[in-house]
């Protein structure tokens, strides 16, 4: 029989304006276990952690710590109650010494003054218990991120040793550093500390965790023993089974995607990579071809695309456009080479809500022409009306403010803006997210038509069905690595893609 949970959360609810981030989530954490909190981005993991650490107050539900109901009002109260957190970015002060970072706010004092010798002595002791060999009087920023993270853990455990939350601690660590962290985690677990571990890396979860709690869309999906749930099942629980539905609604079965006529690649990427964002990958996109990118949120899909658009700087690798090696240093360069990028955050990175449909549509074209050669108003009106007609944007009024349009129509405005510049390669990052089924089908049809007319398309979506319906080939990403490129020969099923995501190798 297991003992009492050290931390129990019952029916926790948290709303932000317009979004229910957590909807009646239950969660248990036992002493002496490493517990994974799983879910895609937006599933509510960070919100749950922020509720537990007192950054956000919960709107409902209760938190029971060691058998007592507690109210966590802030980070300090959480620490005092026995919940310490180490975040993805090291939240320590780089300018202070290691010893100070461990003890600040709780410095040993003699006669009211800080006893530095005692502080250094105790810090050295603590650091030694984790078998770290560092000089505690050196400033924190003279050590690597990995060591800083371990110092943060030393502090967290010393402040309160009951519950330790590790929020994506491994995202910037290399293999050896992860191993060192895991050694420390195991030692703490054996001392009876309850550890909540959040990570995007499935392998790490399976290596270190005893149990896991899966969240989806702010709800509890389930609590499992790691040994009882394999990776494929885990991934399908994280994504949910709702993907099957759309296909029927959109009408028609998946198109047989015949390969495009041309064999010449419009864009070829070779060994393209950026440290901490995506590992080296090769990708070729031919004119008239739709290449899909599949993978979990945070797997590096968007990052891979941003490299092609010059929005992020590549660390290494080459890009060839029409066979010529090209250095895309900025989105401006990419646009000049006929690449367009519809970002997934259409509100923050794409559209200007306060401007009209017409103004939003001509924005990119105007930018490409340069501000010295303004488009005349009649030209603008003509363009706007043409594209409103072509994409069936509703309402069909070019003077309507974009923020008053529905999500699907906003997406079409964004598409129109890029199509007007007549791109050779169109990168679509989650173009159908958050829009209704009808609009989804329209946008999918539009993408297929554009490809038919010879445009190269890179299509990124979380919905596997959608990716499969449109793409000739599918690149599968996992843990920031392109693990496979699958030909969509009509026999490729979502299940096979899912299996590839889960196992990290072509199935």
């Amino acid at each position: 029989m297991r003992q009492q949970p050290v931390l129990e959360v019952r029916g926790i609810r948290k709303e932000f304006p317009g979004v229910v981030a957590l909807d009646g989530v239950d969660f248990r954490l036992f002493p002496g276990e490493v517990h994974a909190l799983m879910g895609e981005n937006g599933a509510g993991k960070s919100t749950l952690i922020k509720v537990l650490t007192g950054v956000h107050p919960a709107d409902g539900g209760e938190v029971v710590l060691a058998g007592q109901r507690v109210r966590i009002a802030g980070p300090l109260q959480a620490q005092q109650a026995g919940i310490s957190t180490v975040y993805q970015e090291v939240n320590l002060c780089p300018n202070l010494s290691v010893a100070e970072n461990i003890f600040i706010g709780r410095e040993p004092r003699r006669l009211g003054l800080i006893d530095w010798a005692e502080m250094r002595r105790r810090a050295t002791e603590l650091v030694c218990t984790l078998e770290l060999d560092i000089d505690v009087s050196a400033p924190l920023d003279s050590y690597s991120i990995a060591v800083q993270q371990l110092v943060a853990i030393v502090r967290a455990v010393d402040v309160s040793a009951k519950v330790l939350i590790l929020d994506e601690p491994t995202s910037s660590l290399d293999r050896d550093e992860v191993r060192q962290l895991f050694t420390v985690m195991r030692r703490l677990r054996d001392q009876g500390v309850a550890i909540l571990f959040v990570s995007h890396f499935l392998d790490q979860i399976y290596e270190i965790c005893d149990r896991m709690t899966v969240l989806r869309n702010g709800r509890l999906e389930g609590e499992y023993l790691t040994s009882e749930l394999n990776q494929v099942e885990l991934v399908s629980r994280m994504i949910g089974s709702e993907l099957a539905g759309l296909d029927q609604l959109a009408g028609g079965k998946r198109r047989e995607r015949s390969a495009p006529a041309t064999d010449r690649a419009f864009l070829e990427a070779e060994g393209l990579a950026r440290q901490g964002s995506v590992e080296p990958y090769d990708l070729a996109i031919r004119s008239g071809e739709v290449v899909g990118l599949a993978g979990l949120l945070g797997s590096g899909r968007t990052e891979a695309a941003r490299l092609l658009f010059g929005a992020d700087h590549k660390d290494r690798g080459t890009v060839r456009i029409n066979g010529t090696e090209t250095d895309l240093r900025s989105p401006r360069d990419a646009i000049a080479h006929g690449i367009a990028f519809c970002s997934e955050n259409r509100k923050t990175e794409g559209l200007v809500g306060e401007l009209t449909v017409r103004e939003n549509i001509v924005l990119a074209l105007q930018a490409a022409r340069g501000w010295a050669r303004p488009l005349s108003r009649t030209a603008q009106d003509k363009l706007a009306l043409r594209w409103i007609g072509a994409l069936d944007i509703r309402p069909g009024n070019p003077e309507a403010l974009v923020r008053n349009l529905s999500g699907g129509n906003q997406q079409k405005v964004l598409l129109a803006r890029w199509l007007i510049t007549d791109p050779k390669l169109l990168i679509l990052d989650e173009p159908t997210r958050g829009i209704d089924v009808g609009a989804k089908a329209e946008i999918q049809k539009l993408v297929a038509d554009l490809a038919e007319k010879g445009m190269a398309v890179l299509f990124i979506s979380a919905e596997l069905e959608e990716v499969l319906r449109l793409s000739h080939r599918v690149g599968v990403l996992r843990d920031r690595r392109m693990v496979a490129q699958l030909r969509n020969d009509g026999e490729l099923t979502p299940e096979r893609v899912l299996a590839t995501i889960a196992s990290g190798a072509e199935q």
């Binding site: 620490q79 939240n91 100070e100 706010g105 800080i114 400033p139 003279s142 050590y143």
Partner: protein, 323 residues
């Protein structure tokens, strides 16, 4: 200690080192160039003439260490001279009542600005700019003229010379050095002081580590307010008058002293000893120019401006390396 750690530590000391070298070389050049420059009293006069600036700069160091800035200090100094002169001369209040009152006023003003900065999350630049206009304006509601002080305790403070062998200092110098010493102890041996450094290192981290960020912030502005008021009191000992045009631009001198003393404007790194050296450098520039005789006093400003540029670029290089 590993090499990297050593390097990081040494890097933090570079500005302090540069300032020390600058101070020594300026003094050496002055001694070679001008007769009578090489004497202990010239050095002590630096302290005597700049005691009030030193006190103000100590307060400024606290603020800058948190990553903030306090533009109100010069105006608060002026207001303190004005209120002192007005109460002592026009109303006949005893100095022993007036001085604590003025100090309390400065502290409360600083605390209020700190509270506004923290509570409403407003840029310290703007809040203390408002404080500066307010304090400077209040001076003129008391009087647009200078009020000279004839009170015997004030004149005694102005004229007393504390002998050090053949040399002497003023009581203000002792007070200023006491403030430096107290500031040093607070910064290095109390939780408040360490929180100041933590706040300057990373406010977000300080918050998440459960440190009292708000209290620390308001306290540093209160300390700066206290130091400004005390600086004002020392200035009345020095000038024997209260005037709304006293200490115009002093805030910039104080910031310059802090920066030349090696404190990073982004906060989190710096020493009070550096600020002391910074004040001495500023004073020495003035002394050299007055010894030179043919240069107008505006050259002081020009040299300070040049030095500031050099030091800010130096800071930038050091912080850029760190990343």
């Amino acid at each position: 200690m590993n090499a990297n750690a050593l390097l990081t530590r040494v890097r933090g000391q570079i500005p302090l080192l540069v300032t020390s070298v600058l101070l020594v070389s300026m003094f050496t050049v002055g001694s070679v160039q001008y007769d009578g420059f090489f004497s202990g009293q010239v050095l002590l006069n630096l302290l005597i003439d700049n005691a009030f600036l030193l006190v103000v700069a100590v307060g400024m160091t606290f603020v800058v260490l948190t990553g903030g800035i306090d533009l109100s200090v010069g105006a608060v100094v002026a207001l303190s001279t004005m209120v002192s002169a007005w109460l002592v001369e026009r109303h006949g209040w005893p100095p022993l009542v007036v001085i604590p009152l003025v100090l309390l006023m400065g502290t409360a003003g600083g605390w209020l600005m700190g509270w506004v900065i923290h509570t409403f999350e407003i840029q310290p630049f703007i809040v203390t700019l408002a404080g500066m206009f307010l304090a400077r304006g209040l001076c003129y509601t008391i009087s647009v003229e200078s009020i000279s002080i004839t009170d015997p305790s004030y004149t005694a403070m102005a004229q007393t010379r504390i002998p050090l062998g053949d040399l002497f200092v003023s009581p203000s110098v002792l007070i200023a050095l006491l403030v430096v010493a107290a500031g040093f102890v607070v910064l290095h041996y109390t939780r408040l002081g360490r929180n100041v450094y933590a706040l300057g290192g990373s406010e977000q981290s300080a918050l998440l580590m459960g440190l009292p960020v708000g209290r620390t912030k308001t306290t540093v502005y209160a300390i700066s307010g206290f130091c400004s008021a005390l600086g004002g009191v020392l200035l009345t000992f020095y000038m024997l008058s209260g005037y709304g045009l006293h200490a115009v631009g002093l805030e910039l001198d104080a910031i310059a002293a802090v920066v030349i003393g090696g404190t990073l404007l982004t906060g989190g790194s710096g020493y009070l000893l550096g600020t002391l050296l910074g004040v001495l450098v500023l004073g020495l520039i003035q002394t050299v120019i007055s010894f030179q005789g043919t240069l107008s006093s505006w050259w002081t400003r020009i040299v300070i401006g040049g030095l500031l540029f050099v030091f800010i670029v130096l800071q930038r290089l050091i912080t850029a390396r760190r990343r």
